[in-house]
């Protein structure tokens, strides 16, 4: 019961799976050549990063890693549709979205090595666009009302910023999803909600998540608009996001559903033995990168050699970034356990830090390794 964009009358698309495209719609985007190139670069970089992460996980250097194969257009497209001062809170596997916003690769990787994140800029005002995010959540769905609160706060402070929040087809089943969309509708907040419907939540297929035909249909229940987009078409994703962002800036939230398919496993812990290969293949034929390559070739923006060179550079950058990240992560000290538990910590935190240090110096780090 896998779903395809073609089955829906109203699913937005610019480039078809076979690479043919709606020229008028493509031109209307008014994207410069370098911008079109950048979208490609981000998708390729995301895929290269995924591959690198998987390798490192198999080598035992990463404990855990999540896959994004086939989802790159949806991730890159939403990020491209945002303005520089806008905010983006995604879930874990949306590497492409961060790459498109300029986030250093090692920074993305460090989250997987340490579980926490760091920012360069001290204050929000100084933040680069890729820094305009909250740390990743792990309890799926919890980011939804949080993003609503974030944009509510930015609006109260007089900033003209929009927030985009991503959630999965699984996460959209949570109560937080409901609360977040409902608050945004009532409070007229500048938030774009994106359901990345990749049709699986670990081993649970989308028809076990919802009996609705689309997630976009949920928007009317919150008093705003929803739209269904071919999540493997980077241009359609870009256009829909841009439109939604504009609308949100005027106080009308919007819901996008990116219909796509998770071709990879859920994560490095997932045996991925619960679904039909035929579905995966059908979606393999709708690969977002290949489809976009056809467009770029036809438009004369790149030739096949360019693709090759870009892929190689992306692999290289992923490899180098991983090395840097591993170096940085290697410097963890046991007492980081206590870092920033509080902004204004009680004294017993210091006492416990001392106690741990003493134990480590007495017994050696090895005694702590299970």
């Amino acid at each position: 019961m896998v779903r395809f964009p073609e089955e829906y009358d109203d699913c937005e698309q610019i480039i078809a799976p076979d690479g043919s495209y709606d020229t008028e719609a493509a031109n209307a985007l008014e994207l410069e050549t370098n911008e079109l190139q950048e979208l490609y670069g981000s998708m390729v970089q995301a895929r290269a990063l995924e591959k690198r992460g998987l390798t490192l996980q198999r080598q035992g250097k990463f404990h855990f890693w999540m896959e994004c194969r086939g989802l790159e257009a949806a991730h890159v497209g939403v990020a491209a549709g945002l303005g520089d001062r806008d905010w983006m809170n995604t879930e874990w596997r949306q590497y492409g979205a961060h790459i498109q916003r300029g986030r250093p690769l090692e920074d993305i990787l460090l989250f997987w090595l340490r579980g926490y994140e760091e920012w360069e800029s001290d204050t929000i005002d100084e933040m680069e666009s890729y820094e305009r995010r909250m740390p990743h959540i792990v309890a799926v769905g919890t980011q939804v009302p949080q993003t609503v609160g974030l944009m509510w706060g930015r609006k109260l402070q007089g900033y003209d910023e929009v927030g985009l929040v991503g959630v999965g087809d699984g996460g959209a089943s949570k109560g937080d999803f409901h609360a977040g969309l409902n608050f945004a509708g009532v409070l007229e907040l500048p938030v774009v909600f994106v359901v990345f419907n990749n049709q699986w939540a670990i081993s649970t297929p989308v028809e076990r998540q919802t009996a609705a035909e689309t997630y976009a249909d949920r928007a009317i229940g919150y008093g705003f608009e929803g739209t269904l987009v071919d999540g493997n078409d980077v241009l359609a994703m870009y256009r829909a996001t841009k439109r939604a962002v504009e609308r949100a800036r005027s106080g009308e939230p919007m819901l996008l559903e990116a219909l796509t398919y998770r071709r990879g496993a859920h994560s490095s812990s997932d045996a991925d033995d619960y679904r039909d290969d035929s579905d995966r293949e059908a979606w393999r034929d709708r690969d977002p990168i290949e489809r976009y390559e056809a467009f770029l070739l036809d438009q004369g923006i790149f030739d096949p050699d360019d693709f090759e060179a870009i892929r190689e550079a992306a692999d290289r950058r992923a490899k180098e970034a991983a090395e840097r990240a591993l170096d940085i992560a290697a410097e963890q000290s046991p007492t980081e356990v206590f870092d920033e538990v509080f902004a204004n910590p009680p004294t017993y935190i210091d006492e416990q830090r001392e106690a741990l240090l003493e134990l480590v110096s007495e017994h050696g780090e090895e005694a702590f390794r299970w």
């Binding site: 994140e117 919890t142 402070q157 609360a179």
Partner: protein
């Protein structure tokens, strides 16, 4: 300093009002906090003073309230979120545990979670289910929260002021039983009472009684009652439950060697256990008798008139004091 005579709930409203006047990044959100001034009128007048932009009646969703407050805090706003009764916080716990308590750690200090979650708590108003919950222990156990419980109008104002200014998420539990039980002189000016400092409400040398919130008053009554039998009880109102004022607790016990802990929450797994463990770790060799716990029973909170039998009262506290003195 000019002073006025306030009830605890009026002191809460005043602290909110003053901080909102002082700092325009402070806002108030919750169910019915606005035009109606809250079901206990704890936010009375705040809407009129600051208007609908800064005093917001939200949809009925504690998940939404907690989640939005976290996002607001991350954005640079200092939200005061009201949960109508602490028993309705449960729906917000995922947001609070998985994010509010961790935002600072997981962003290595980039986004602190400066928010206050206020809720009327504890029993004593003869209300339906979930209107009498005492759930301080589940917050104290999770690293990252601060937990504050005032027991007087003066403290309510000063502690709430400090809580709003504190950079960490503060769970501010207001003992609803004594919202209007008595008045006290409270300075008109704004002032902060430091989080983490207990108050010795009565000095004594024979036994230390540790308590907080609405239990402070029956504890003081019991202390006065046993004074007639020549027992000199010290009453320590913890005021902050996370972080606890370990020093004051331990010092008092070293002096008396005997202790009673009084709380409304059920006995098993309640904070009396934590305090006992602390005392016997830090001061076992001063201890002269088992530490008594006077707590709510391990019962699903009984309703209406029946709650009288659930809540510790002066008679039970007196018995406990005498028991520890008897050993």
């Amino acid at each position: 300093m000019a002073a006025e005579s306030l009830t605890l709930v009026e002191a809460v409203a005043e602290a909110i009002h003053d901080e909102m006047a002082l700092d325009e990044s402070v806002i108030l959100l919750g169910e019915d906090v606005g035009r109606s001034g809250g079901v206990f009128r704890a936010t009375e007048g705040v809407y009129d003073a600051f208007g609908p932009e800064r005093v917001i009646d939200t949809p009925l969703s504690e998940t939404g309230i907690a989640g939005a407050a976290i996002g607001l805090a991350a954005s640079g706003i200092r939200p005061i979120a009201e949960i109508q009764f602490s028993g309705f916080t449960y729906a917000g716990l995922e947001q609070l545990y998985t994010r509010a308590a961790r935002l600072n750690a997981r962003s290595r200090g980039q986004f602190s979670c400066q928010m206050v979650l206020r809720a009327p708590f504890g029993g004593g108003v003869r209300a339906p289910d979930l209107h009498g919950e005492s759930m301080e222990a589940i917050f104290v156990h999770h690293p990252g929260f601060k937990v504050v419980v005032p027991s007087t109008p003066h403290d309510a104002k000063g502690l709430l002021t400090a809580s709003i200014r504190d950079p960490d998420p503060v769970i501010f539990l207001e003992p609803k039983k004594i919202y209007r039980a008595f008045r006290e002189e409270v300075p008109e000016e704004s002032y902060a009472i430091p989080i983490g400092e207990a108050a010795v409400r009565r000095e004594g040398s024979d036994v230390s009684i540790f308590t907080w919130g609405s239990m402070t008053r029956p504890t003081l009554s019991a202390a006065e009652a046993v004074a007639e039998d020549g027992i000199d009880a010290e009453v320590v109102d913890l005021r902050t439950l996370s972080p606890m004022d370990r020093e004051t607790i331990v010092e008092s016990f070293k002096k008396t060697g005997r202790a009673v802990v009084v709380h409304e929450a059920p006995r098993t797994g309640g904070l009396a256990g934590e305090i006992t463990a602390l005392l016997q770790e830090e001061a076992l060799f001063y201890q002269k008798a088992p530490i008594e716990r006077v707590t709510g029973w391990d019962a699903v909170y009984p309703l209406y008139d029946l709650e009288d039998f659930q809540l510790p009262n002066a008679a039970r506290i007196e018995d406990a004091i005498k028991a520890v003195l008897d050993e």
